[in-house]
């Protein structure tokens, strides 16, 4: 998520270090930062919040809290410190929860607002994180979401149906085929598995995903009903997926949020709207059937060290918890920790060990060899068989290739393949090997091979089974494939490893082969002749080999094969012929006779 440095600064009295330093610190202790972007005088970090921290860290406050622990800077302005007070209560709004997928629903009713443009500071904040300013009311809801993580929505009260002199808000499953036009002006067809918000039974919002046009805020809006609710993560995720409507709200709900957060969000947004748009607070209604219980987790000093392999003291651990803002009791080396309400990820001793490790720093973890191990490793019979086959075949001149498991036909097919070609799982290695053979034959001279011979040890899916087979193919033999049978062995053979030190890039352009044979006086060094040829041919001669040598009537015949190839273009016959003519001339000049 995009995090503005200026915005983060609002949580601290002490000046924060530059963005680059923030990136380094975040990456060492909590999240990767994909980029830093300059926006006006601000710097915006793209922070990759991991899925386990979507509960608490998809907000500026969440990142500020982490920085507070990492940099040991106190948060001077933490919205979660004060218990929210949702007062007064209004009777002008009623709420009915018809689904347990809504854990909490708070409505706030404000009368007499003036909808208009947002002040410059608010526009700057939102624009820094890539949001467009809409109006003061909508911007306030977005600001609070990016500030503390609670998705919020404001309905135009004037467009909500009134029954028995109150707004009757209901959270229920949509009826099959029910439709609603959302704020993006598109009509969505709803299904009974989707949760919606209704006013007097008319849909006004898709729960946790998007608000509806029927109660959209505009310049004429006078009264607003604000929603700060908690919806089930799985339900929101499925709905957003089904409607192909992923929003900043749904992205947060699907990570599962604490219902406690809803009260903080409501209090903050109501205050901000009144500050920006005026109006008078009529009051709140809060339906919260099962309040979140305090979350406790225990860990001992011993356990932390047993997991991390460290020698941390109780004081080190206590310091980490304090920096994270975790309440704890320490008794006889046992820490009983109460995680802050938003940290839904803290439950196990291992979770606490991780918190300690990342605050203390992973650079403090020593490097220790494994303890002694008494068990004998088992020999993998399939691997032993594959290795034996590899060794035998390489000795016979076969090269090992890996070809794709994806094929044009087969018994099984994958769904939604991104590149949509070859969606089947192969039932044989042979089509892949045949293709590979065809591809390699034209390179025979370049490879210095008399015959291309290939094999693969690979997985196929045939007869309803997954099998590992050995496939072989060569220019002069019929392709064959057999199931690789496991091999009984007491030990693995120690087989040679690749001795290559580095891969040499090869040219993707075609090559041209020329042979030249000459008579030279006996005793002439073939290497010297090769050097001469090489010098004359220049860098177009990719490879020069002596492929034949014999003596006759007091003379020696040397035959060289020259492979011409360029790294940047396709060579023409004409230029290769010119090169050969030059080579011929120099050899004649040396007194050799071309055969």
């Amino acid at each position: 998520m995009k995090i503005s440095r200026d915005w983060l600064q609002t949580f601290f009295d002490t000046p924060l270090p530059p963005a680059q330093k923030l990136k380094e610190q975040l990456e060492s202790h909590v999240f990767e930062v994909e980029s830093i972007e300059k926006v006006g005088g601000d710097e915006v970090l793209d922070v990759k919040v991991t899925p386990n921290r979507g509960h608490d860290a998809l907000s500026h406050r969440g990142i500020a809290k982490e920085l507070s622990a990492i940099l040991e800077l106190p948060l001077s302005n933490d919205p979660f410190v004060v218990r929210p007070l949702l007062a007064p209560v209004t009777t002008e709004v009623s709420i009915k929860l018809d689904s347990n997928l809504c854990k909490r629903y708070i409505a706030g009713y404000i009368k007499g607002v003036t909808v208009g443009p947002s002040p410059a500071w608010l526009k700057t904040r939102l624009e820094a994180v890539g949001q467009r300013s809409i109006n003061n009311v909508v911007d306030a809801t977005n600001f609070v979401m990016f500030n503390m993580g609670q998705p919020l929505h404001a309905f135009d009260a004037g467009k909500l149906e009134i029954q028995d002199s109150r707004f009757k808000i209901q959270v229920r499953n949509a009826r099959e085929g029910e439709t609603m036009v959302a704020l993006d002006k598109k009509e969505y067809k709803l299904t009974s598995s989707m949760l919606i918000i209704t006013a007097g039974d008319a849909p006004v919002g898709i729960a946790g995903v998007k608000g509806g046009m029927p109660a959209a805020i505009d310049e004429t809006t006078k009264g607003i009903v604000i929603e700060s609710a908690n919806f089930d993560g799985v339900s929101v995720r499925k709905t957003a997926q089904a409607l192909k409507l992923r929003t900043d709200a749904s992205a947060r709900f699907e990570q599962v949020l604490s219902p406690e957060l809803a009260a903080h969000g409501m209090q903050a947004v109501a205050a901000l709207i009144i500050e920006l748009a005026g109006g008078e607070l009529a009051g709140f209604v809060d339906v919260y059937p099962e309040p979140q219980k305090p979350m406790f987790a225990n860990v001992t000093v011993e356990k932390v060290n047993a997991v991390l392999g460290t020698a941390l003291t109780g004081a080190d651990i206590a310091d980490a918890f304090t920096r994270l803002g975790f309440a704890y009791k320490e008794e006889a080396s046992v820490f009983e920790v109460q995680a802050p309400f938003e940290r839904l990820d803290i439950a196990l001793p291992e979770d606490l060990a991780e918190e300690v490790a990342r605050v203390v720093g992973y650079d403090k973890i020593p490097s220790t060899p494994l303890p002694k191990f008494d068990k004998q490793p088992e020999i993998n019979k399939n691997f032993a068989a594959a290795e034996k086959a590899r060794e035998e075949l390489v000795a016979k001149g076969y090269s090992e290739v890996y070809t794709s498991v994806f094929a044009d036909k087969g018994e099984r097919m994958v769904l939604n393949k991104v590149d949509s070609v070859r969606p089947y799982l192969r039932e044989s290695l042979l089509p892949g090997l045949q293709e590979a053979l065809k591809k390699n034959i034209p390179n025979k001279d370049l490879l210095g091979l008399k015959e291309v011979k290939l094999f693969e040890v690979g997985t196929v899916w045939k007869g309803g089974k997954e099998l590992v087979t050995l496939g072989m193919i060569g220019e002069k033999e019929k392709a064959s494939e057999k199931i690789l049978e496991p091999m009984d062995a007491d030990a693995y053979e120690i087989l040679p490893l690749s001795t290559a030190t580095r891969f040499e890039q090869f040219s993707k352009y075609p090559y041209i082969v020329r042979d030249i044979a000459i008579w030279v006086p006996n005793g002439t060094e073939p290497v010297e002749v090769l050097k001469t040829i090489k010098q004359e041919a220049g860098e177009l001669a990719h490879k020069i080999t002596l492929f034949d040598r014999f003596e006759k009537e007091g003379k020696t015949s040397l035959a060289y094969r020259i492979i011409f190839q360029s790294f940047d273009r396709t060579l023409t016959e004409v230029e290769v012929n010119e090169s050969m003519a030059k080579i011929g001339r120099i050899l004649v000049d040396k007194g050799f006779v071309i055969r």
Binding site: P51, R53, L308, A353, S367, K417, Y492
Partner: protein, 240 residues
């Protein structure tokens, strides 16, 4: 010259290194059920965590995927041991193909190879993970190695870390010398993963790590395009 595939050579080498430390080369199917690929690894259904990997699902076989990692072998290996009545300590390594449904380029392939290691015992720590990785990379790169952990998240480990490596020494190719390189993910096996495999998490703990063999090969031999691995081009293979 005819030769084995560079990944096969790396697998052979890694197996020799791990064998000396007592690791068994374990296996699992490539076409895997969601239990072994996801659920048992603590990756919940209908949770954003499942989006971390682009998965190939199989037509008309709901609940089956092409494995997205070799971590399925962790579960299979432990299940098998428990079934045989063998309690930890365990040391297992697995190497083989994995799949991601993504478009390919010089750095990405839909099919590639991974190595995965699992160590479970009463006294296995994150420090042992660092030590084991250091030893492995020292042998493979013939240089001295520093290992750095960065915080991360994987559903199947707690704590979870990204592992980086920095090589130094004369044998190390200059391109790689004295630079931090991201190698892969690791961590302490999540207690739920042990429990799901039948191992008592109150008694035992352990570490696991996994990383791409293609990337390792690319680093070791300065290969710039991952697609060469499945090119079946002998201008590539025969160099190894």
């Amino acid at each position: 010259m005819a030769s084995i595939h560079p990944i096969s050579s790396l697998i052979r080498e890694a197996n020799q290194i791990f064998l000396q430390m007592g690791f068994t080369f374990a296996e699992g199917p490539l076409l895997e059920d969601e239990w072994h690929n996801f659920d048992a690894l603590n990756v919940p259904k209908d949770h954003p965590v499942r989006d971390m990997q682009d998965t190939f699902y199989i037509k008309d076989e709901p609940g089956h995927v092409l494995r997205t990692h070799t971590s399925n072998v962790q579960i299979r290996y432990m299940e098998e041991q428990i079934k045989k009545g063998i309690q930890p300590p365990y040391r297992a390594v697995s190497m083989g193909k994995v799949f991601r449904n993504e478009s390919t380029d010089m750095g990405h392939e839909a099919e590639f190879s991974q190595i995965e290691a699992l160590v479970v015992g009463t006294d296995i720590t994150l420090a042992n993970l660092k030590g084991t990785l250091g030893l492995l990379f020292e042998k493979i790169f013939q240089g001295s190695v520093e290992i750095r952990f960065r915080p991360s998240f994987f559903a199947f480990t707690e704590p979870s870390v990204e592992m980086d490596m920095r090589l130094s020494g004369d044998h190390v190719p200059e391109k790689l010398r004295d630079k931090w390189m991201e190698m892969g993910g690791a961590g302490m096996v999540h207690p739920n993963v042990l429990k799901n495999s039948g191992v008592d998490p109150k008694k035992y703990q352990g570490f696991a790590f996994g990383f791409g063999l293609d990337r390792l090969a690319m680093l070791k031999w300065s290969i710039d395009d991952i697609r060469l691995m499945h090119s079946a081009d002998l201008r590539f293979t025969n160099q190894f």
